[in-house]
């Protein structure tokens, strides 16, 4: 593929608002996971909650969009000068030529969950203030973002569970290559809600402590929330050495089971190999893998086997979900931004909370931060339903 330039990017999660806080948290090995105190949830688990989301006011003309997910989206969009960068892109290319591709798994479903507590006792009707289209509906966060910037080009929500905001890069790549747009706002936003907390709990996949990816005793995920964005443009001829490029994308489906990965990680292997093929790289060309690493027994085992099969045992890798929690439909976006920081700052971020590595998996799992030049990295995102996506990013200075 022709490489694409991440001209601006930002992430907001439980470890920080924007890039400076996120990088500082990674350097200080600071996790954002705390015992669950969200709404009336009575589960013994840890969550990665973004502070201050409730205090974010939406613009008056977009008041119908008011819900936790869109407040989190706006909080994320206004960090690191990202909104200004989108406005500059609109100025340069036109409002029709900037697309919106955002991943989410649950969008504003929390609004419906709350509305169902206030149904009319006689008719069963939902309260009048509940607006399905602009809150609960999957498209809501993409529509909000589109209207916030006054965009009129292609816009869509990608909702393939936990691969959503990795897959957005693929949709945007095709749309750019087809010549329909000149820039794309990509990313993902997912926020805490009862459906995912009780849903993952029903599958026995929620840990009672802060999640421990790739630990021998790992026993489930910690759910988090996040908003992450990147502005994708075609690569100009001259770029700063530390500019970040998207070099390859690989996608596959497991065709195996709705909530368990293929035991040998066959789909994951196919996605990683396809990303390498698209980037024209051999496995040795990758310096670090940001793993999907959810900390469930089966996910980490399958991914570990797949990574070892494609890359061998010596590639440094880690999951940053021990810090952020699993931000579901936002995870691919958050981890793309963490990869961009790794490239620009020469940092391989340690996986947190992991005490004793799973010795059955033959991997160089990074347990202490490593400072070293980083040229190219791969990020894995795998989801429910067996949906897989691997992204390869690189520094422009080391093509």
């Amino acid at each position: 593929m022709n490489s694409l330039w991440l001209s601006h990017f930002t992430a907001t999660s439980s470890i920080g608002r924007g890039l400076d806080q996120t990088l500082a948290a990674l350097r200080q090995r600071r996790a954002g996971l705390v015992p669950c105190a969200f709404d009336s949830v009575d589960l013994a688990t840890f969550i990665g909650k973004v502070p201050g989301v409730d205090a974010v006011p939406l613009p008056a003309q977009l008041a119908d969009f008011d819900c936790r997910n869109n407040r989190l989206a706006l909080l994320g969009l206004t960090q690191d000068g990202f909104a200004e960068a989108v406005h500059a892109a609109i100025e340069k290319y036109g409002a029709q030529r900037v697309g919106v591709f955002l991943g989410t798994s649950t969008s504003g479903i929390l609004q419906a969950e709350l509305a169902y507590r206030r149904r009319d006792p006689v008719t069963g009707a939902l309260p009048a203030g509940f607006i399905y289209r602009t809150t609960h509906n999957t498209f809501s966060v993409a529509d909000f973002t589109r209207l916030y910037f006054g965009l009129s080009g292609p816009a869509v929500a990608v909702s393939s569970a936990c691969s959503s905001s990795a897959k957005v890069f693929s949709s945007a790549r095709r749309m750019l290559a087809a010549g329909l747009i000149d820039a794309a706002v990509v990313g993902g936003v997912d926020s805490l809600c009862l459906t995912t907390l009780y849903g993952f709990n029903s599958l026995g996949l929620v840990s009672e402590q802060a999640c421990r990816p790739f630990d021998a005793q790992r026993n489930g995920i910690s759910i988090g929330e996040a908003a992450a964005f990147a502005l994708l443009e075609r690569s100009p001829e001259h770029l700063d050495a530390d500019a970040v490029l998207l070099l390859g994308i690989g996608e596959s489906s497991d065709a195996y089971h709705m909530s368990s990965p293929h035991p040998d990680g066959l789909g994951a292997r196919m996605a990683m190999q396809a990303a390498l093929n698209m980037a024209g790289l051999k496995p040795a060309g990758i310096d670090y893998i940001n793993l999907h690493g959810t900390a469930t027994q089966s996910n980490d085992a399958a991914e570990g086997k797949a990574v070892a099969a494609v890359f061998g045992p010596d590639i440094p890798c880690s999951s940053t979900k021990g810090a952020t929690g699993h931000t579901l439909g936002a995870a691919g976006g958050v981890e793309a931004v963490i990869c961009a920081l790794a490239l620009q700052h020469g940092l391989l971020p340690a996986g947190l909370n992991t005490q004793q590595l799973d010795s059955t998996l033959d991997l160089d799992y990074v347990l202490e931060n490593r400072e070293q030049p980083v040229t190219r990295v791969l990020s894995n995102s795998f989801g429910f339903g067996g949906t897989n996506c691997s992204l390869i990013f690189g520094r422009a200075g080391n093509p």
Binding site: L126, P154, A155, V156, T387
Partner: protein, 264 residues
């Protein structure tokens, strides 16, 4: 910017429309449209456990997708896919929200499986063995247009055959009052980058600000305007009429899709 692809197979299922071959005379105006509730066939291709767990969106997706691919004489396992739905499974969502508002919040694993927007995509890959690229999209009322655009970019940029599966299912009360989708409706299209003996029609698509075409028949127009996946009906009507023509399909409030149709 124009995107060109060849339609090689069509699947259709909705109220009073039981498949593509029998619906052509209705869409072409040769037989009256007689709406009745959509009949969803059992998803026989799924293993027994998955078949038991599958909801309306899975049955609808499998029925329309398999019809289109069988008509094209292709193997579903080899096709990339685009799943576009305006929202999730409304019945399932209602059941989860009801439980979460009650004293017993222990929703079942099956309910949770079926709550993700990519439920149909997951079951599709299990049923067909397709390990290929798939995109799973939502764009509210613009979902048909968004799905068609995504499928076209797969075809044009990656030079691959793709199946578009645009499906919506009914919402129960009290959600229905806030999202009035009355019944299940799906369109599936197999799209190819090059002409072949299978090709039914060549389509060339570009963005436009012209208004979307409506259907003359009031009941069919009501279907088109009430169910997002049915916004693709003007395209199917042109093919049913065996006429080269240009139609405008609904998409976003500010942008529609102009589709030039040339029969093969």
């Amino acid at each position: 910017m124009r995107l060109t692809a060849y339609i090689e197979g069509i699947g259709l299922l909705g109220p009073g429309l039981s498949d593509w071959p029998s619906s052509q005379t209705v869409l072409g105006g040769k037989q009256p449209y007689q709406p009745h509730k959509t009949i969803l066939p059992p998803p026989t291709l799924l293993p027994a456990a998955e078949r038991r767990r599958s909801g309306a969106i899975v049955k609808l997706t499998l029925a329309t997708g398999l019809e289109a691919i069988a008509a094209a004489g292709l193997d579903a396992a080899n096709l990339s896919s685009v799943f576009s739905s305006s929202g999730g499974d409304g019945e399932n969502c209602h059941a989860i929200c009801e439980m979460l508002a009650s004293d017993d919040r222990q929703i079942s694993p099956t309910r949770f499986h079926n709550s993700v927007h990519n439920t149909a995509a997951g079951y599709w890959s299990i049923a067909t063995g397709a390990m290929t690229t798939s995109s799973v999209l939502s764009a509210f009322d613009a979902s048909f247009g968004a799905g068609l655009l995504e499928a076209l970019t797969q075809v044009v940029v990656d030079r691959t055959r793709t199946v578009l599966l645009a499906c919506d299912t009914a919402y129960p009360e009290p959600l229905y009052s806030t999202r009035p989708i009355p019944d299940a409706f799906g369109i599936a299209l197999v799209l190819a980058p090059q002409h072949s003996a299978r090709a039914l029609a060549k389509i060339t698509v570009n963005l436009t600000d012209a208004g979307a075409d409506r259907l003359d028949d009031a009941a069919l127009e009501s279907l088109r305007s009430n169910i997002p996946a049915a916004r693709g009906l003007p395209l199917l009507r042109a093919i049913a009429l065996r006429q080269d023509q240009r139609v405008v399909l609904d998409y976003l409030d500010s942008t529609r899709l102009a589709v030039a149709i040339a029969l093969c």
